[in-house]
């Protein structure tokens, strides 16, 4: 197909594409998207799905195996229903996974745009600043920040946001760099667009798919890390229900009633795999070059 108007932002060109079949999201990603939706619904409607309390247990019923009467997934050391804790626990587990990605998505995109569109000096200052964070093993840095701030879910969110900004910024910067000298950018500059309008109206819509795909995949990682911080004792405080906390709590009964551990351990796996498969499928659907975290 011959391109007639090379100075048109591809964002506008996409609408007039007529040929070809509609691309479909791969089946695996649809399933994963469905699971993600179910998890979010379970978190939202936890009180409707179980009548039991996630924080107060019956001591006489402690450490019952899965399948016990009234406790589908068993009870923990304090006699609390594991299913109830799993459902209520989805709230902090998913939120502390998703909020850092949202924060990092916004900040990282801003850094990427500033570096990608800025003068060479600004570009290298921002990128060298971000390079520093790549010298740290990410998990350890998050642990150090969370430990310094003190345990608690908001501090865990801050720590995770800090380590997720640099990778998002790199993706945004790389995508911006590919557009920097495009003809439509020249056209916009020639017509006197301000820096902000250039970034917001011309670049952002074009880099958004790549950033969104990357962030979707990051949610899986972020859920694993945030539950991991709770597992280490740096996240939400007991007796709250949270998946990582449940694992560290049930670990002491690993050799006596190991079956109890499986539910929270698998919950994190399912959430993380689902977000990754969804992100992967979105990547091929939106035709974004996928980079691994």
């Amino acid at each position: 197909m011959a391109t007639i108007d090379v100075a048109v932002n591809p964002r506008f060109r996409r609408r007039v594409r007529t040929s070809g079949t509609r691309r479909r999201l791969p089946t695996s990603s649809r399933v994963a998207g469905g699971i993600v939706a179910l998890l979010l619904l379970a978190a939202l409607f936890a009180p409707l799905l179980t009548s039991q309390s996630p924080t107060v247990g019956v001591l006489g019923d402690r450490l019952q195996g899965p399948g016990a009467a009234g406790h589908l997934l068993g009870t923990d050391g304090q006699g609390r229903d594991i299913l109830a804790r799993l459902l209520y626990g989805a709230r902090p587990s998913l939120l502390t996974g998703m909020i850092p990605v949202a924060v990092a998505g916004l900040l990282g995109t801003a850094f990427g745009l500033i570096a990608g569109l800025g003068k060479p000096l600004l570009h290298s200052v921002v990128m060298r600043f971000l390079d520093v964070f790549y010298a740290f093993p990410a998990v350890l840095l998050a642990i150090a920040i969370a430990a310094a701030l003190g345990s608690g879910s908001s501090n865990a969110i801050i720590a995770l946001s800090v380590i997720l900004v640099p990778p998002v910024a790199r993706v945004a910067e790389a995508e911006t760099g590919r557009l920097r000298n495009a003809d439509f950018m020249e056209a916009a500059r020639a017509s006197g667009s301000s820096w902000f309008s250039l970034a917001y109206r011309q670049v952002l819509p074009n880099i958004a798919p790549a950033v969104v795909v990357y962030c979707t995949a990051l949610i899986g990682l972020s859920i694993v890390y945030s539950a991991g911080l709770s597992y280490l004792g740096l996240g939400i405080a007991p007796p709250a229900a949270e998946w990582g906390l449940m694992i560290s709590d049930l670990q002491q009964y690993m050799f006596t009633t190991p079956a109890l551990l499986i539910a929270p351990a698998l919950a994190i796996v399912v959430a993380s795999v689902s977000f990754n498969v969804l992100g992967d499928g979105l990547g091929s659907y939106l035709n974004v070059r996928s980079e691994t975290v």
Partner: protein, 316 residues
């Protein structure tokens, strides 16, 4: 080559300075007044001022930073609050154990990752490639603490073949065989995520290389597919090196969870134990040593890269 190395070493100086600033900030963001918490609530203002002066906390932040770096350069990473010993010794002992686990996990990760990636790239469109891709994607998403605990429950206690904790057996252990049996489960747990990442990157690289013109040229000359593959794999080595550097760094940091689950006496377990005791100097030292190791690994990778690929030397 020597000038290339010198430039690379010089280029990592700003990174190291940045690393030290970030760690210094994590010390300074600790909420509360350190002097008050050391002396207790009943201390007099005079005593607090005296301790503040002795610790150098009355100086402006940049001066405090320089003093802190000066101590750091002399190997003084502070004193552990819970163990009352020099942090450096604690961390270095633990670091060696972490390196043993990391090296073993890296070997596993590369073997598994390269096999999966090669299958996914060379059998494109076939079921085996789809399965490889699926395995890689799932293994990237696996939380190490879940996997570790499930392995302990089902493999270690299920079969009784592997120990569930530690590095050596307390009784009658100590040999290579003993170390190896302790390494298997934590090694597998630590290797899964990097294996998935290596598989995905290697797949992309192989597909890129196989679509290059020189492959067609070799084919046109009637070279067998097996020998063409050899040429193709030779061209993937620079990428493999880069991946190796990144994944070793990932492993060094990521073993926190593995070491905690399997009680492996490395940096990760040390950091975990320090969290509960709020022994922050140990946590910071663990982060500094891991970051140093990471920068060093990247230097070595760059040097190897330049030996293999002359373009690297000319380029930078």
């Amino acid at each position: 080559m020597i000038s290339f190395l010198l430039r690379r070493v010089l280029a990592s100086v700003p990174i190291l300075i940045g690393v030290s600033i970030v760690v210094f900030i994590t010390i300074k963001i600790i909420p509360g007044d350190p002097v008050a918490s050391l002396l207790g609530p009943t201390s007099t203002p005079e005593a607090r001022a005296a301790l503040e002066e002795r610790l150098g906390l009355d100086e402006p932040l940049p001066v405090q930073y320089v003093q802190w770096v000066w101590h750091l350069l002399q190997g003084d990473l502070g004193t552990s609050i819970s163990k009352q010993t020099q942090v450096l010794g604690l961390v270095l002992d633990a670091f060696w154990n972490t390196l043993v686990l990391t090296a073993f996990a890296a070997l596993l990760a590369f073997a598994l990752g390269i096999s999966l990636g090669a299958v996914a790239a060379l059998r494109r469109g076939k079921v085996s490639a789809a399965i490889s891709n699926g395995i890689a994607l799932v293994s990237i998403s696996l939380p190490q603490y879940s996997v570790g605990l499930l392995l302990i429950i089902y493999v270690a206690t299920g079969t009784g073949l592997f120990p569930t904790a530690g590095m050596y057996s307390a009784i009658g252990g100590g040999g290579w065989g003993d170390l190896f049996s302790h390494l298997v489960l934590p090694g597998i747990t630590a290797a899964l995520v990097p294996a998935g990442i290596i598989a995905r990157m290697f797949r992309t690289t192989v597909i890129d290389v196989m679509s290059m013109d020189f492959i067609d040229a070799l084919r046109a000359r009637g070279m067998s597919e097996r020998r063409i593959l050899l040429h193709a794999f030779h061209n993937t080595t620079p990428t493999l090196l880069t991946i190796a550097g990144l994944q070793l760094g990932y492993l060094l940091g990521g073993v926190v969870f593995v070491e905690t689950v399997f009680s492996w006496p490395g940096i990760g377990l040390l950091v975990f134990q320090s969290i509960a005791q709020r022994d922050l100097p140990v946590i910071q030292a663990g982060v500094i040593v891991s970051a140093l190791a990471f920068v060093l690994i990247n230097l070595v990778v760059d040097a190897l890269h330049a030996t293999i690929d002359p373009r690297m030397r000319a380029h930078s």
